[in-house]
Symmetry: C2
Subunit: 236 residues, 2 copies
């Protein structure tokens, strides 16, 4: 059986710094998921631009992350961050998703956009998946950003673990979904810069809904087992 | 942190044979998923009743499984199987799901019903999730079987691995979803009779859709990596 290579967990073998991405922008970079990813990318030696609604807030968070990681982290408003990033991670609340991407579409043209937004609702019984007219947050992004290369990833990684400097090894696979094979490969390489994490191709964007929605199940698991759960894919 | 116990992987500690389930019926038991589960339950010492549309076909498959496992396997039509099982596993094709459950509702009253049906479509680009008016196959089952205790489980386990006698250890967690805590616990115990598998509570039935639909992603993973993939939940 021939299998496509999966990015290795060995940081030495990481090829990202060669032809790959050197500057990652994180929109919503002051939220827990965004800041957790930014921390890991900065620690991996990537240049990181934190985006937020207000540049001041982003700069304050960037300064903290830079001091904590010894990496290179800047803060900016979301528009400036989008312009600076080679890869742009979308980690904003679902409620802000459509409006922000509509506004940033020209700035994101030609770029690799990595959507990690989970459209979820919450009530007394816990989390549940919201219906999205386009099918998923990722498909909404693809519809709003026809000039960008949209990939979906990082849905299931615990923000708590990402943002905890004491956690050296994040025990989780990341499903990477997209219709553009080269863009998916780049994001798999990006995942592999985080020790412990492995980027696994998870299907086309049309199958992103259930990956986003599955975060509701992980929240149920976390509540029942008092855990910060993640997923590993077996047999690969 | 106090965590609810997760059924152990150690067969010796399995409590199923005490107050739990002794007879498992598998509707659609001659299909790959149903037969694979039946094989494992028979090997674990449970009494298994294979159900099929035609009793003759079920009896032939039951004879083969009995010879292969040294267990106790009977064949019957789906109605007779439903009447015989304490737990009844629904492993029929999605296309047959609503009609069969409507027909069997009286026979399934009061029983533990374990739905493992994945409503999927297939085209040239692979598998994709179908929309289900009730939300999911499991919620459809719950709606059609108001007198039964409906739990959703076994969506992601590779039928190939289950049905391969050379595979002694099935490296996969099984998400068990339901609104009835005791019924969920029983199904977790049932999962634990299969070496390697662990039943993990995965949320309420309203979050079953994405678990069923996620099988489309595993099919994409299997195609890309030439694998029989499954899931493990980390940090529990």
């Amino acid at each position: 059986m021939t299998r496509p290579p999966i990015p290795t967990l060995d940081m030495e073998a990481n090829t990202l710094t060669n032809p790959g991405i050197r500057t990652v922008a994180v929109l919503g970079g002051t939220g827990p998921q965004g800041r957790g990813l930014a921390r890991r990318f900065a620690a991996a030696g990537l240049r990181v631009v934190l985006g937020s609604r207000t540049a001041d807030r982003a700069r304050a968070a960037a300064g903290e992350l830079e001091a904590a990681t010894g990496g290179q982290v800047e803060g900016a408003d979301n528009l400036a961050a989008a312009l600076l990033g080679e890869a742009v991670i979308v980690a904003v609340p679902w409620e802000a998703h459509a409006e922000l991407l509509t506004e940033l579409a020209p700035a994101l043209a030609g770029k690799l956009v990595v959507d990690c937004v989970n459209p979820l609702g919450f009530d007394g019984k816990g989390a549940f998946a919201l219906r999205v007219p386009e099918g998923s947050a990722a498909e909404q992004a693809a519809a709003l950003l026809p000039e960008s290369r949209v990939v979906a990833a990082f849905h299931h990684v615990s923000a708590v673990l990402l943002d905890d400097p004491a956690v050296e090894f994040v025990d989780s696979d990341v499903l990477v979904l997209g219709d553009d094979r080269e863009a998916v490969d780049l994001v798999q390489q990006l995942v592999a810069t985080i020790p412990g994490m492995r980027g696994v191709y998870g299907g086309r964007l049309r199958n992103a809904h259930q990956v986003e929605a599955f975060t509701a199940n992980l929240i149920s698991i976390n509540r029942r087992y008092k855990a910060h759960s993640g997923l590993r894919v077996t047999d690969i």
